[in-house]
Symmetry: C2
Subunit: 156 residues, 2 copies
DNA sequence: GTTTTTGCAAAGCTTTTGCAATCCG
DNA sequence: CGGATTGCAAAAGCTTTGCAAAAAC
């Protein structure tokens, strides 16, 4: 539904950022870029295996971690302790509103948070201040028909 | 060093919220309340064992989870996939600035974020919108003498 | 006395590491 | 060629579950 982004051409340059240009890394990064929003390493691995381009799970983990460390991907933790990765197009980052039912993610305007975080960083005396902001909820689609309430209906 | 809060009296009422009033649950909740900020289940278990009030790790997990489900505790994930729990005194919550070196946590003014999150919740079409905001950095103490830069010195 | 709760041991999960074979440059 | 990279298998870490003994009501 919401994931028909024309995935960019083979990201050779991006791959080069983390070491040698290998087929596997290109595959992993391409798959990452093709996904809108966040994906788990295992989900990505499954997708690749299904696509007929099997890449070792270890390699997927290593590649994604390397990209994150190179500043080309963001990481969040989902509710089960799984790490989700998202390709980061530019130097600045966005924040997303994640649907806890279907995993749909939608970017939100996060300027106020950025400003707030910068102010905290300035006035706190702390250095290297980083922030993680995660919004989650149930998207309109899931609310209506698709999923009754696998959550148990707990209020906020 | 920074955790000398006069821990509240035995929280019988709170315990009752999640089932039978048992010694172990009282111990766990009391320990949770005595901590300022977030604690991991294992850390709490260690502390209790050291205090001479050994409680099974399983029980700590179950009790904390139950409290969280009863809405009396908040949960965040730290960078290693560990779940950290914090007793929630009231219906509203605070956000903290965590030192990545020593674990010190300091509450920060989070009104702007709350306002922002509420606005997103209103305008997004999502329901049950929750937010997680985590600020981390290196506190002044750690910056000066204790730890040179175990982080590797990566900028924000 | 009955039902919940406890706690040990074992399993479950995601993620990381060791190491020989392989591929890139 | 030489060194980085791959991938399988095994390990690591945190959390959950099964089940008999113990405690609460």
């Amino acid at each position: 539904m919401a994931s028909n982004r024309p995935h960019a051409a083979a990201p050779s340059q991006e791959v080069a950022l983390i070491g040698r240009l290998t087929q596997q890394r290109a595959i992993v990064l391409e798959a990452l870029m093709a996904v809108e929003g966040f994906v788990g390493a295992q989900a990505l691995h499954n997708r690749l295996t299904g696509d007929g381009t099997p890449v070792g799970l270890t390699t997927v983990y290593r590649t994604l971690t390397a990209f994150a460390e190179a500043g080309r991907a963001d990481i969040v933790r989902d509710g089960n302790g799984e790490r989700l990765f998202r390709y980061r197009p530019g130097p600045d980052h966005r924040h997303y509103l994640l649907c806890t039912e279907c995993g749909l993610s939608r970017p939100v305007d996060s300027d106020p948070v950025e400003t707030w975080a910068r102010k905290i960083a300035r006035t706190s005396g702390f250095t290297n201040v980083r922030h993680t902001v995660e919004l989650s909820g149930i998207c309109p689609d899931c609310r209506e028909g698709t999923a009754p309430s696998p959550n148990g209906g707990r209020p906020a």
